[in-house]
């Protein structure tokens, strides 16, 4: 949608859709509010707005409510909603678009675990080429309080006993090649 020199600005919905211009899927205006996405979502009980509500808020142009919502940070990226949407909307892609939007605009809540985790994850991948779970533990193990900590530690022991948890971080071969690939897309300087 190229806007001529006299035209005004665009709506919040169009702004979100522009973030999705390279993805498949149809316009959010097609949403019929059937809530199939919300019913399919395994993480919906942790969200303050269900995916259906979030799409309604976007279509209504309620930017502040959408940005303050934890819905898109809670999304587990299972893509059940995108699979099941009868109209062909891809809500999971919308969730990703909104996380990017909030990072770029700096509107995300600094107390949330998810943005911090994303940063640590990206950093780990750039250093070693793979995820190293014990590396995240010190930052997040206290999130669930004492019971959460005990739960996590029992899980870690079980994983360790089955050889599913590496104690020493390993590195992929030719990590420099991976870094070169990423450097084509993003400036690496600041991730580390």
């Amino acid at each position: 949608m190229v806007v001529a020199s006299t035209a005004g600005t665009i709506s919040f919905r169009e702004e979100v859709e522009n973030l999705l211009h390279a993805e498949e899927g149809v316009s959010l205006i097609r949403c019929i509010q059937c809530a199939t996405c919300s019913a399919a979502c395994p993480a919906v009980e942790f969200m303050d707005h269900t995916p259906r509500e979030l799409i309604a808020l976007i279509n209504a142009g309620m930017r502040d409510e959408v940005m303050a919502s934890n819905t898109y940070w809670t999304c587990a990226s299972c893509y059940a909603c995108s699979e099941k949407c009868p109209e062909g909307i891809r809500p999971a892609d919308v969730m990703y678009a909104l996380t990017r939007y909030s990072l770029w605009k700096g509107t995300f809540n600094r107390d949330w675990v998810a943005p911090d985790f994303s940063r640590r994850f990206a950093r780990t991948i750039l250093r070693t080429g793979k995820s190293y779970e014990p590396g995240y533990a010190p930052a997040f193990i206290f999130e669930g309080g004492f019971p959460g900590m005990v739960r996590e530690m029992r899980m870690a022991v079980r994983l360790l006993s089955r050889g599913r948890l590496p104690l020493i971080p390993s590195r992929i071969k030719r990590i420099r090649n991976l870094r070169a690939v990423v450097a084509r897309i993003l400036p690496l300087d600041g991730i580390e």
Binding site: M1, V2, V3, A4, S5, A7, T9, I10, E14, E15, N18, L19, L20, H21, A22, E23, R100, L103, W104, K105, G106, F108, P115, R119, A122, I185, L186, P187, D189, G190, I191
Partner: protein, 137 residues
């Protein structure tokens, strides 16, 4: 400078677009595309004297991809590109306090958001002038 030059702005942030447009409209005819795909279509359809390009759009650093694509295109190669980015501020979270590497993308000039109106006009005029001198117009 008898006729007004044409400037294309490709940026997905409507507020920022409204801002730089208000500045550039004083001296240029501006056209806006709010995503890289529409921007590319506009470039193919019409000739522009300057492109103002944002970096972080769509799935990621698509402005970078677009700048590289333009440099590979025979017709568009000579068009001056001014990258205006909030990169450092927008994703300070990912890139805290680092300058963008100069070899990162082949553009003529890079400015950081927020832009100074006078500086923007100055840079736009310089880029258009240099490009026209290069092409002998």
């Amino acid at each position: 400078m008898s006729e007004r030059r044409k400037v294309l702005i490709v940026d997905d942030d409507p507020d920022f677009v409204a801002g730089i447009r208000a500045i550039l409209d004083r001296e240029y005819d501006t056209v806006v595309a709010y995503n890289p795909k529409d921007g590319w279509d506009a470039l193919k359809k019409d000739r522009y004297d300057l492109l103002c390009l944002d970096i972080m759009m769509g799935r990621g650093a698509e402005g970078v991809m677009m700048a590289r694509k333009i440099r590979r295109d025979k017709e568009l190669r000579n068009m001056p590109v001014l990258i205006i980015t909030g990169l450092r501020e927008q994703i300070a979270f990912l890139f805290p306090g680092q300058a963008v590497h100069p070899g990162f993308v082949p553009v003529d000039e890079l400015m950081e958001k927020p832009v100074e109106p006078d500086l923007l006009l100055q840079k736009a005029a310089a880029l258009i002038g240099a490009s026209e001198a290069r092409q002998g117009r």
